[in-house]
Symmetry: C2
Subunit: 315 residues, 2 copies
């Protein structure tokens, strides 16, 4: 299929949010509530970030949108618009790329339903290449103040919203060749791996946090970044207490300790924040404390490797 036709098929029916000038001109024009914009970008590469036998085109499209949306949420802003580029080898069928677009559209509809703000994909590019990749840029509308990684204060509690370890548990199942059908714990973890659902519903509460970031590379590693930026020490509660039932069940199925999935699994795209102890917003759970001291991350006061079995920690 020629690129012009493929682009037309992908654009067909794509939500455009509130765009003043939608896709189709040299560039799109988007309205904002204030004269400023929030922007972030990520690329997903086949074999590195996804496998086509583990994720459908629509799954990859969903993930490309939601993981970028999580970065916008992590600033306390509303994801309002996306642009994306797809690189596609000649042997990948056009319907795979069209499905990427459909997954992007589904994710936009899901995000808009949670924020109440229209959201769409307003531009893009398609090119041939040797390897599938999907790069997406997200734009956010910031009504309040940006919530930064650097705002954690000693005395704060550390809070988290969203799933933890579900995506890693799902990936572990797929890596073990297990891909059950149904509605059990395994299926739901695989579902989170394929289609992460960042906690869009806590958006309004983010303005009450002192610091905030997206957990994309693992809880302990990302907490290390927050500790460094804020100049504080972060001490987590017992991570075993953060193993949700579904993640526990998958650990049992595979005969492995699920705590490393919670400690080091990325790509659930939950939100990690800090706030005053008496001001924990709905939707967040307390998972640790912010302390004075050199930037560091501990679990129950000990270095992570000793308590989690996970020794890949590097700030």
């Amino acid at each position: 299929m020629p690129e012009d036709e493929l682009i037309a098929a992908i654009v067909q029916g794509m939500p455009q949010g509130d765009a003043l000038v939608p896709t189709g001109d040299d560039a799109a024009v988007l309205p904002l509530t204030a004269p400023r914009v929030v922007v972030s970008t990520d690329v997903l590469v086949e074999g590195r970030h996804f496998r086509r036998d583990w994720s459908s085109g629509a799954d990859v499209g969903w993930r490309s949108i939601t993981q970028n949306a999580a970065d916008i949420l992590a600033m306390g802003a509303v994801p309002v618009s996306f642009v994306g580029s797809i690189v596609l080898p000649g042997d990948v069928p056009a319907h795979w790329a069209i499905a990427v677009g459909q997954g992007m559209a589904e994710a936009c509809t899901w995000i808009a339903s949670a924020t109440g703000v229209p959201c769409g994909v307003v531009g893009g590019d398609v090119s041939s290449g040797n390897q599938v990749s999907v790069s997406v840029t997200a734009l956010g509308d910031l009504a309040g103040e940006a919530v930064l990684r650097s705002g954690a204060r000693p005395g704060d509690v550390v809070v988290h919203a969203g799933t933890l370890g579900h995506s890693a548990a799902g990936l572990a199942l797929l890596s073990a060749g297990l891909s059950p059908d149904g509605d059990g714990a395994a299926e739901r973890c695989i579902g989170t791996y394929r289609r992460p659902t960042p906690p869009v519903e806590v958006l309004d509460a983010t303005q009450r946090l002192h610091a905030l970031m997206d957990v994309s590379d693992g809880l302990l590693r990302d907490a290390g970044r927050m500790a460094k930026r804020s100049g504080v020490a972060i001490d987590f509660d017992d991570l075993a207490g953060l193993v949700d039932t579904e993640v526990y069940v998958v650990g049992q199925m595979l005969g492995v300790d699920p705590v490393p999935w919670v400690a080091g699994g990325g790509e659930d795209h939950g939100l990690l924040g800090t706030c005053a102890p008496g001001e924990v917003p709905e939707g967040f759970r307390v998972i640790g404390r912010v302390l004075e001291g050199e930037p560091s991350v501990t679990v129950l006061g000990q270095a992570p490797s000793g308590v989690t079995g996970w020794d890949h920690f590097s700030g």
Copy 2:
């Protein structure tokens, strides 16, 4: 080099424009003059859009920024910010990717010097992959009204700013194995191929145009898109009159007719517009007329293939 270190090396010294929150958090925050933003994206893939033996890393970085900036200019907006993703095979040296970043920084500095508005690269991503690709998203600040492709009116003159055919002439030289050193016509055309220089200096004049677009796929093809969007016919003057001396000289060197480079060569990223006959802004030259009629593109009243030798026209 680990990705974290590579990203740090690329970010080092990267201009940040007027960013309220620069690169380094989950997302950047940018100020705008009005509550709206202009956005466009493009991907460059090795072997498809560039060759590493023909373009340096810095050339690819420059081009990734300027070709996206041209899309922003083509809306009548000021390019103020970019984000970019680089996919890099393991056998490409880190210094090549660092050079991409340096070329991006140089392009931002060049754009800012022409617009008077600070401009930078405020975010990005780096991933390993099988093939080099660079995808960039540009953000623009729109003080006036967006100038669309759909605004051409019968009675308008067709105008152009920037180079025409220089990039195609440079590519033809490289394809012929010719890459002379020096400061002649050949070197300057190759220079335009490697580092296109869209006519940023005409930005203020764009608000006086009725229609505007970036010429990225060739003058006749892009004019066909404008004709279709505007519901008009576009008739060009003699294209031989648009062959600049440098392009003519390269045609002589290679023993070929240079008119097809003007008619069909993309990637000079000039600006194609229309305006009232008495209101041609400085920096633009008149190259045709807008007529009533079914959307079409002609040259001196004839179908392009008969007069240009270029028969690849497809609206």
